[in-house]
Point group: C2
Chain length 444, copies 2
């Protein structure tokens, strides 16, 4: 949608809202639909090709209004999570509209998804142990639990451990292994911890780490977790969007071993912040961790199994209607449009990588798999820190650094909707110009 | 703002967004402002009288754009929380723009605020105990912690205890005490628990309970908590908005003893969902519970004390620009407009109460303090359950019930922006008509 159409459609939407509010007394206060009403009103999958704005907007009255805010908010979310799960070719277990026991939910951020998975894992571990040893005090169990994640994992994983009050151990990674957690390392840590009387219960794998977009080997790690009854959560906050492209989908191989999976369409799939999508293999594992049913939250379909009470799937109680954003984006771009968008960003990153590689003064610090390029001036950390400061002080581009094996590394991330090749070239021109300045000032 | 103005202003806003996006390359990528830049650009308090939409919207370019998304998002939030804190006449300790050590933050829901306060309290308790007994294992401390809340408290309080992995005890309340927690009861439970080797560390007081809008006696409870070094959190999710009116502000007396306080402007202060405002007496208590500082989140002002890193104040990492909603609402209504809005709802609830009291078949089940009326047919729970079902099946009004001292009670809540006296009278007409039907069907 270009600016001209945005102006027109935006104004139509303002009128639609005003009409709704002006005539609200003509609408029923409470919807008159049966559980599951929405699924039959829309296709089972996202469209391949883009649809027009008119097509989408006219469905608001047909699909949403009969179910008003609730249950439409819940039901559209369940179906949109299925649409997206199918785009990602998730195993059927994770799709709600199947005979599986899983499904998807929108969280606010990947941090929350990591925490929710950890809490569900903690609750499952305590239940399993109490089942075989009912007299054991629960706090005695919790104090023995141990969770794992890569030393490259996002800080929110460690933070989730702090919140849940459980040990979280960092699994060391190596540059020679491309900063991926190795099965052998995890296996050894589990054995050592078990020998020391601890109870391994949760492993957070990362697909696309924050520092260098590294990928843990989940095909290797998954079977270990399954054998040890350890909950494997996959955090693919950034990289997950790319898995809608067949050429990037192999990065998700091993998902069949996971208990939960999460990524952020708000990062790279054109859905506005916030929208962090999480799937679980077994709904009952999540619900078991949180369930509270006071009278003022009861409803007729409470125990019917027909409806999803997302309040049991998350930390907050209230919810926003975030699946509307997904519905509009998936239909107006179509799967192909979204794939094109991902591919373009990866191409732009590869273009930047070529520019770096062609310049002998620079080096690439990690494989460029998606839209992130980790690079640095050959030389000291100090000179790279100085370069970064100059770049960011210029306020034309903004880079966020990382540490890889003790080296200070610059990260060039392609992530804006409107980025074109000319922006890449202009950024590189600016970076090399500042690099020259910095290098000329160096003492010889 | 009426519908005609909404249409005009909404369309202007669409153009403003389109203009911004079309000319985005002319703007700096990173803002060039000093920490605290925003506070001096706007008044220290919300206006008494309403301002025009033009006044507010022209400040976007002047106040927000120089600070872009960040730090404007953070700084406006801090100042808006001060504005709202001053409307509530919170003690200076809770206001960031003073010499105090506290301040405010926007959470998504009251559930999150309760949890964040509980986690901060847990962390403070553990630190205090370790300070006097450094060899004591941390898990041994956690397993002895005990938190308290009213048996009338929202279910999210109990849930926060589950998430944090600590004991949460319900304090019994009585109808004769208007369902408020009594100081004597809390004091006795604390003494018993201490005698049993437990460590009391957190009390969640409720001002305006969900079932009946009851108010815990915080002037009595606060000193007990302070003396025992128990964190007192106040959950006023619904009732908090009313405290901007001098006649309702006494309900908040005792706030001077609290460590944290929360309510939901998205419930009753015309700010769209979500916006749950939380204040703490000591910023460092919250930050101590969550702080994580990886390189990719570091910034120049990290240790300066000049900036607020709200990511240390909450569960998620990412944040939305929710303070814009507060800024627009506070200015376009003015404090007086907001007070009028609260007062009108309370008057409408009192009008409904009078209608109930004038009908001998009905009884009022709890004091009507704000916009909630708890009522029932004199008679069995069954007849009231039947009546509720008839009312809700009619889909003209929607009531949510509660249990009070074993009685099934109907709750009439005035909470929509456009509710007028005619809606109250129409609702009562409908309720009495259905009550007659139900009573005629009763076996005699």
């Amino acid at each position: 949608m270009d600016a001209t159409e945005f102006r027109r459609r935006g104004k139509e939407m303002v009128d639609l809202i005003a009409d709704y509010l002006e005539n609200i007394e003509q609408r029923p206060v409470y919807p008159d639909v049966e559980p599951g009403y929405l699924r039959s009103l829309i296709p089972e999958e996202a469209p391949e090709e883009s649809e027009t704005y008119e097509d989408v907007v006219k469905d608001i009255e047909r699909v949403i209004m009969p179910g008003a805010a609730s249950p439409a908010c819940t039901e559209l979310e369940t179906v949109m999570m299925d649409w997206l799960g199918k785009m990602l070719k998730l195993p059927e277990d994770f799709i709600a509209g199947t005979h599986g026991q899983g499904g998807g939910v929108i969280q606010g951020t990947a941090s929350e998804a990591t925490l929710v998975a950890l809490l569900a894992a903690r609750s499952r571990a305590v239940r399993m142990i109490l089942a075989s040893d009912p007299q054991r005090p629960e706090t005695g169990i919790t104090s023995k639990l141990v969770a794992y994640s890569s030393d490259q994992a996002h800080c929110s994983v460690e933070r989730a451990g702090m919140i849940a009050g459980v040990r979280m151990k960092k699994i060391p990674t190596e540059q020679s292994d491309k900063y991926a957690v190795q099965g052998e390392t995890l296996r050894r840590m589990i054995q050592e911890d078990k020998a020391a009387g601890l109870i391994p219960f949760y492993f957070c794998a990362t697909l696309g780490t924050t520092p260098s977009c590294a990928f843990d080997h989940i095909t290797e790690l998954g079977p270990i977790c399954n054998a040890e009854k350890i909950w494997m959560h996959i955090d693919a906050a950034y990289a997950g969007s790319s898995f809608i492209c067949p050429e990037f989908r192999p990065l998700l191989n091993g998902i069949e071993f996971a208990d939960s999976f999460n990524f952020n369409p708000h990062k790279w799939l054109l859905v506005n912040f916030d929208c962090s999508t999480m799937w679980v293999r077994k709904r009952s594992d999540l619900i078991g961790a949180f369930k509270m049913d006071p009278l003022y939250l009861k409803h007729d379909h409470q125990e019917s199994g027909l409806v999803t009470d997302y309040r049991h799937w998350q930390i907050p109680l209230g919810r926003r209607f975030r699946s509307l954003k997904m519905w509009f984006v998936f239909r107006m771009y179509g799967l192909k449009g979204l794939q094109d968008y991902i591919r373009k960003h990866v191409e732009l990153a590869k273009e930047f990588e070529s520019l770096v590689r062609a310049d002998q003064r620079f080096e690439i610090s990690a494989d460029v798999v998606l839209g992130l390029v980790c690079f640095r001036l050959k030389g000291s950390n100090e000179v790279n820190e100085t370069l970064l400061k100059r770049i960011n002080n210029g306020r034309k581009i903004h880079l966020v650094p990382c540490q890889l094996s003790g080296q200070f590394v610059l990260r060039f991330a392609v992530c804006a909707r409107t980025t074109e090749s000319r922006h890449i070239r202009e950024a590189w021109r600016l970076i090399t110009q500042l690099a020259e300045e910095v290098m000329q000032e160096l003492p010889h």
